[in-house]
């Protein structure tokens, strides 16, 4: 009995001691916490980071965002004001690891000069040897190589080391997108000495190691990463690619449920979220406890597409008729709460500018729609299906209901079909859907690049299955055209054809709603649709 009691007392004493220790630890923790919390940015996202190597196939967009902040590229873009926020300025590039560059008179050769003081996170200086290895590596990966090819960067021989800090890039023909392609997510500059030491005979580009480790020179270094949960970034004070960022630490946390993300931001425990539900954003904006910065996503568009290769949509008049029958303003209000830039209702009297995406000359006009439908031989309408994917349902579902209602007025019976994402992607690629909603984003907002991707070819991105030999000739010509005036003429001519043939009818450029704590500023919209932490600040 006696020994039992003593043992009990000892255990009790241990528990009390442990509790006191715990409390002391908690107190210390909260002190340190208050100091560092202001300089820490806590971001919550719905999708998770699945790799540190953006060129891995199936890398998520969130992984692109981490790569963007952790690595440097040779060059990047300036920013400009747009609405309440900032956006990247596609027409003005600046050096990141490159101090400067020159383009030869014929446009075929770009000579980069590296910053001489730039170092990787482990202190190794950045040299052209690293740049060459990194760019060669991009070309060795199928997906990223496809992106680089859009800027005529296809062979490793095109990248030549001149000296330790000078690199020459040569193209067969001058390509307007060569330089921009060196600023996108893939061509990051990797610490080649470090990465090579981790390579294996069957993995010469160290893809396995780089998927889980970063060998970078960027503004932030990876402090810890738990796949599927969170990643912690620490500021790299030796960064030379730009002014030192404000935040010392960035925590990006995976919070799958949108309602939970909303609560966290509203409560002030999280500082920033960019993927909340549209109706939650409206509510938060009214509530006034947080700041909402809404910026149009200038390199993308939401649209409905017609499969122009199958009846009845192979008849241009049917496509035009439906484009006159869509309930544009109801959809814009009901589906996206008027956030974004409308791409419909352009006045015919305005001159067509050489840009794309641009507002189309269609608005809701049921009389005209009926007339066109009768001309096309469908005076009593027809039956069709309208599809969208599960992920976009919060926007596409109300859209589909409004479309069904409006098209019924011209006799077109719509059956709504909601598809899982992978199935939708497959059916779109196989051209099996007659009529559907999609959103798409092209990294480089150059009109000819948009037409190249969305208006030709037998692939997924030609959503309207458009096929027009004359148009394709113009796309090819525009790509290589160096005379700005002629280029603009070509673009205007292609825009006119897109208006007339409407294989897809753009609806709007959706806005990104960045919801953040009131004292945070500097949000910038980037083509990859991820947050650039380097520009954010907390004002006290």
């Amino acid at each position: 009995m006696k020994t039992g009691r003593t043992a009990c007392a000892m255990v009790a004493r241990h528990i009390v001691l442990a509790a006191i220790g715990g409390l002391v630890a908690l107190a210390g923790f909260s002190n340190a916490f208050a100091q560092t919390r202001a300089e820490t940015l806590r971001v919550v996202t719905g999708a998770s980071i699945n790799t540190l190597d953006a060129s891995m196939s199936a890398a998520t967009r969130e992984s692109y965002g981490i790569s963007w902040n952790v690595y440097d590229r040779l060059a990047t873009w300036e920013t400009r004001k747009l609405g309440a926020g900032e956006v990247f300025d596609f027409n003005r590039m600046k050096g990141e690891l490159a101090e400067s560059w020159e383009v030869s008179a014929d446009g075929r050769v770009i000579t980069f000069r590296l910053r001489k003081d730039a170092v990787f996170h482990d202190g190794t200086p950045v040299t052209t040897e690293d740049v060459k290895w990194s760019l060669d590596r991009v070309l060795a990966q199928k997906g990223p190589a496809g992106q680089m090819a859009t800027g005529s960067l296809t062979r490793p021989e095109q990248f030549e080391i001149v000296d330790r800090h000078t690199l020459r890039v040569t193209m067969e023909r001058a390509d307007r997108l060569a330089l921009p392609n060196l600023g996108v997510v893939f061509p990051v500059i990797i610490n080649s000495k470090l990465a090579r030491s981790k390579a294996a005979p069957d993995d010469p580009w160290a893809t396995k190691w780089l998927a889980e480790n970063a060998a970078a020179s960027g503004a932030y270094a990876v402090e810890s990463w738990k796949p599927g949960e969170h990643i912690v970034l620490r500021r790299f004070d030796g960064w030379k690619g730009g002014p030192l960022p404000y935040f010392r630490r960035i925590i990006v946390q995976h919070v799958p449920e949108a309602a939970t993300r909303k609560t966290l931001v509203e409560k002030g425990d999280a500082d920033l979220a960019t993927d909340l539900n549209p109706n939650d954003v409206m509510e938060l904006e009214r509530g006034g406890r947080v700041k909402v910065v809404s910026v149009p996503q200038i390199n993308g568009f939401s649209f409905v597409a017609f499969n122009s290769r199958v009846p009845p949509y192979d008849n241009v008049k049917v496509r035009q008729a439906l484009s006159y029958a869509l309930p544009y303003s109801d959809m814009f209000k009901g589906a996206v709460f008027s956030r974004g830039v409308p791409l419909y209702g352009r006045k015919d009297s305005l001159p067509i500018r050489p840009e794309y995406p641009t507002p189309y000359p269609y608005e809701t006009n049921l009389v005209k729609a009926k007339h066109l439908l009768a001309e096309a031989g469908h005076p009593n309408g027809f039956a069709t299906t309208f599809s969208f994917n599960v992920t976009s349902a919060s926007v596409a579902e109300p859209m589909a209901v409004l479309i069904k209602e409006s098209l019924a007025k011209i006799g077109v019976q719509v059956e709504i079909q909601k598809l899982p994402d992978a199935q939708m992607a497959t059916m779109v690629t196989e051209k099996k859907l007659p009529f559907f909603a999609e959103s798409s984003f092209a990294w480089l907002p150059s009109p000819d690049y948009f037409f190249r991707i969305y208006y030709r070819g037998d692939w997924r991105w030609n959503f309207g299955s458009y096929s027009n030999a004359e148009f394709e000739k113009q796309i090819e010509e525009a790509r290589w055209e160096r005379d700005a005036k002629r280029y603009d003429q070509l673009v205007v001519s292609m825009v006119e054809a897109a208006f007339r043939d409407v294989p897809m009818m753009p609806l709007w450029q959706p806005a990104v709603d960045a919801v953040m704590a009131k004292e945070i500023s500097g949000f910038t919209y980037w083509f990859h649709r991820q947050v650039d932490y380097r520009q954010l600040k907390r004002a006290r």
Binding site: A18, G143, P144, I251, E257, T260, K267, A270, D421, T429
Partner: protein, 345 residues
Amino acid sequence: MIGNGQRGALLFLVRRLSAALPVLLGVAIFTFVLMRVLPGDPAIFFASGPAAGEEEIRELRAKMGLDRSIPEQLWIYFKDLASGNLGMSLTTGRPVVADIAERLPASLELALFALVIALAIALPLGVAAALSPGSILDHAVRMICTAGVSLPTFVTGLILIYVFYYLLGVAPDPTGRLNIFLIAPPSRTGFLLVDTLIAGDFATFMAALHQLALPSATMSIYVLAPIARMTRASMLAVLSSDFVRTAVAMGLGRGTVIVVYAFRNAVIPVLTTVGVVFSSMLGANVLVEKVFSWPGVGSYALDALLGSDYAPVQGFVLLMAIIFVAVNFLIDTLYSLADPRVTVE
């Protein structure tokens, strides 16, 4: 005699396992074929950007091994299974085995904790209701159970978050197993509550417990009903049986009658229910994991399923089948503890 008993137990174990094998095999084949029959081509889904041409898609398909015939793919899958390789997840970019090894303890910890809470509440409630059927207490228990089972878990979860985190501020933010600003102890068992105690880190233990409170409450509210109802029904049947009447007539104490005679006899159907409930808590409670950002296996499998990512779904289903078999085995063993007349065969 003792040696005989041990041999018997071993024989029993072998017999049980070999009976489970065909089931597991069937499950593996069924999931494998089902994933491939479902519409949606992962190669197309994962090809993106300007490199999503036909040639690239074909190459990606070959890389994933999807260009072979289904029997051939199945053969490769079984060869991999035999060496303990469940394949690679495309969505996380890691081996499925590693993903599951990291996420299963999170799900187990949550489900076990919730089950303990549920049992601690449901058993007394069920017994109390059975002791006075038709009383106010009985009706109250019925109401609690109906409310618990008819509220979908994500609604309960969101309500709990709203009240305890958002309004009252007593619960920590609902983001996973540990406050993001705390440092997790070195992982030994994967169970955070155990790992923190091994590391002697009491503050982190409390933090983890705090974090566990709302999701496990959400789960236990949902499973309260089946356990309490089953306890009540089973107790009612036992209480009206002859031996209980005899025991009461013989003048045994009320406590002894209820606990030793009635409850012990009533517990077998309850155990069956608990087994089923536990298995479903582990696999089917994706919504709780989603709402509380809990890094468990359920949300992992759902994400993979939506993304047409075959390997994790196959791995998950197989894992669930194995757990189901194990739980059933455990429950059968518990039967004989509860009632010596039951022998496990």
